[in-house]
Symmetry: C4
Subunit: 275 residues, 4 copies
């Protein structure tokens, strides 16, 4: 198992070409946020936007439109239960993040199934939070798209069938291969499995142990996938930077709040792009 290096991150976060426009940096849709967990999709969308995704659309419960726009006017919104509109917009997306605050009600499952059956192999897919819970409870075929899952250890248990005590690197590797996904298994030291490769994230702090941290990571992963060509390197760089920012903030804070990480992303990405 390799440790993610600053070299990998700085090679991923390249200087932007002068002659580029917002389409160059990807169209991303984030799907989630029911009437109880709207904050999760707000945090994910904030992270994606501050990561530099070109165009961000949020498909969520309409009750979340106002609170999202009150802090993130940069995102567009749509009702995730409006299937015709969802299908129409999905087609144009480069990256789809589904799960943060999605919930596990029947309507949520319908949305997930709609996405899984319509996403194409050209589109990148991030499955997080409730999407993983739904998939574990009621397995359905995953599309042939490049897929990354971002479970914490209990979600990984449900999805992979591996009890937390049995989540050894070797077992995780096999499970990720079997599922045909890149798996980001979140823990004190997060590990990432893709094909025959595995990485360990060197950072992370207990100051990150607060609600919404995972939603923020999912949004960052999506934002990086919208911009950077190498699928796994984009994911690894997002994981690395997420905890690197948190570790720096934790030098002076007992707890680091998710939105504080997002606010720092542009400065950290600039720093790595200049190395």
């Amino acid at each position: 198992m390799q440790t993610i290096t600053t070299d990998l991150v700085k090679q991923t976060i390249i200087k932007r070409p002068a002659d580029s426009y917002k389409g160059t940096y990807g169209r991303i849709m984030l799907i989630g946020g029911n009437q109880n967990f709207g904050g999760a999709i707000i945090m994910a969308a904030t992270a994606a936007t501050y990561s530099g995704a070109g165009l961000v659309t949020v498909a969520t419960d309409p009750s979340n439109f106002t609170s999202l726009h009150a802090q993130l006017p940069e995102a567009m919104v749509m009702d995730y239960q409006n299937t015709p509109q969802l299908l129409a917009l999905l087609k144009g997306m480069d990256v789809i993040v589904i799960g943060p605050g999605l919930g596990t009600e029947p309507g949520a499952e319908t949305v997930l199934t709609t996405v899984l059956t319509h996403v194409t192999v050209q589109q990148r897919l991030v499955l997080d939070g409730s999407a993983l819970t739904l998939l574990a409870a009621n397995p359905q075929p995953l599309p042939a798209s490049p897929i990354v899952v971002t479970p914490h250890q209990m979600e990984w248990q449900r999805l992979s069938g591996l009890k937390i005590a049995d989540q050894t690197p070797a077992a995780n590797q096999v499970a990720a291969q079997r599922l045909h996904v890149t798996a980001v298994v979140k823990a004190h030291r997060t590990t990432i499995y893709a094909g025959t490769q595995a990485w360990r994230n060197p950072g992370g702090s207990p100051a990150m142990a607060t609600g919404g941290m995972g939603d923020t990571l999912a949004g960052m992963v999506g934002g990086f996938l919208a911009q950077f060509a190498d699928f796994n390197h984009a994911i690894l760089s997002a994981v690395y930077l997420h905890s690197a920012i948190a570790d720096d903030l934790a030098q002076t804070r007992y707890v680091v709040l998710p939105h504080q990480i997002s606010a720092e992303i542009p400065k950290y990405m600039h720093h790595y792009s200049q190395l």
Copy 2:
């Protein structure tokens, strides 16, 4: 009567263990905020979140969901009148704070009774604001859980039956013992009573004399109770830090607003954890 010392605070706010996750820092539900006093529960939940509680759920009037999420996406929301959902979620909580902006309408009383009759001895309970008014007007048995009440002097009069002029330390001590609660009696110099012990808070400033300051304290007390094992030391540390932050801010401000205190909590907790 002892004065709360920095020693007590620094022994309470321990360094977080490296291998921990959000569940380690507690699940807290804050219940309050009717259609007129929604700001109170927003301020309490903000304080709990910035205090480092692992997972924060707010049970409130649905008219407050959007304003809460617009500034605190880290919290989950639910309708406090939805009794089945309230009961389902209550079970998983480590700490319950009830009262900020709850109001005294019949519906509020129903919510309070639901909580008082279902909370278990494993759960910690913070009773504040309207919850104390309701209890004073219409006494009902308190559960055997560890309970802290956070009245100002007039609320303490209603609850304890002691007129403000009669609220001597000795009388307050007896009343707290009779009620089987830890009592935080808020005043220019706040005093705290638990069993045979009593403490005086050394800080506090007239710059704190503004609406919402008590809601913020209730949220901090809840946040600390979610993380720190010793019940009374957690409460005392929250009381101490709340006024210590305000006193520092008041060095340059005529009035200190509640949200300004919450924004500082992570830095102050970090400082004390390092002493």
Copy 3:
């Protein structure tokens, strides 16, 4: 005509007594904000809160509750068309500010009449914006309470009958006496008339020429009246500080936005309280 002096301001903004509580600093209700002009009452309430008023209640159209609470959880809210609740809460107020964004629809006039006919001589009244337009269009008797009006020159023309060209200090003085109010006539150099006295504000900058500046002043005047005993000195100090803050901000800004002034009020009040 005297110029308002820093001496007057520093003698007004006294150090707060150590043993005080939020009731010491007054209960204020701000009434205004229809479905189109909700921002006005938000700005006024923000100014009142940051000025240190003890307890702030906003009576407004319910469509403004969420946007208000999203930025000012410290305030309580109520529907200004709910006359029974308005009457019940009005009784407990020390200061009432009516007008910012109130509009001139028939419902607005009803609210104004309700206030004018129920306010008592113990309560201080600030009439601003739409309240002045309504009064000019449809005169009704003013209560015997201490009243301050805060018109700009065109509103003063409507209210006093004096055309802008005729608004000489002497004529303004007579008009204010006839109306039995303290009149703050806003202009490049704002002048204030009370009985036989008149003052000129030394500050003010064209960077203040933007929407909402008057709403902010009305809120500051209300906030100061809630705390400081001398009626006219409280008003003069608010007028002075409002422009003093703006002038300082304008050292580096082409335009100063109202909320930027409110954010600075606590620091400036602290400064003057220490002189």
Copy 4:
């Protein structure tokens, strides 16, 4: 083709006269923001307000009122589908910006037609985003007012009939003349065409390649047109400053978010007004 110079900008952004009031700096209405794209009109209105327009009104879908007021209480709001109110308020405007987030539904076209048929030659008109798409799909006569269009290259293709590859300065010049508009053609190096003159903007950075950047520019253009007499110089100064601010922010940021630019406008305008 000339390059926009700092000389032109500093001659445009003059010191404000001492004796001025908000009416001096113009009344501007921004029209846009449907139920999906509300953030666009929020960003445009924020830019107009921070640019120093005297009075800002936003005509938008009512679902956007709260999110707008939560961050920009300085603006007034109205329902853009309320045609009588729209017509009544339009009359008093100095500048009308239409298009950001307007969408292309039939209702949006109705609003656009209402504006185009009622705007007078004394009023300045900014056509952006969806307004350009609607016009290209369904051409209708433009009023004789001074008009500026702010298309990106694809919108300019639709509007002018020139394919992106054919958008040479000479062809753009002819098309702008034919349309009787000043055309701001947004690209890596934005160019501006008015009559026989053409300018190139020297600034711009790939950190600006993110959603909402164009809405912010449209709002700035509107805000500058509300204050500065020379039509084209106002537009050129807004274009210049928009990218100058972004370029400075991009010194430390990988991506610059639109609201970060707006927050800096007052300081940059002050700087240029002092040169």
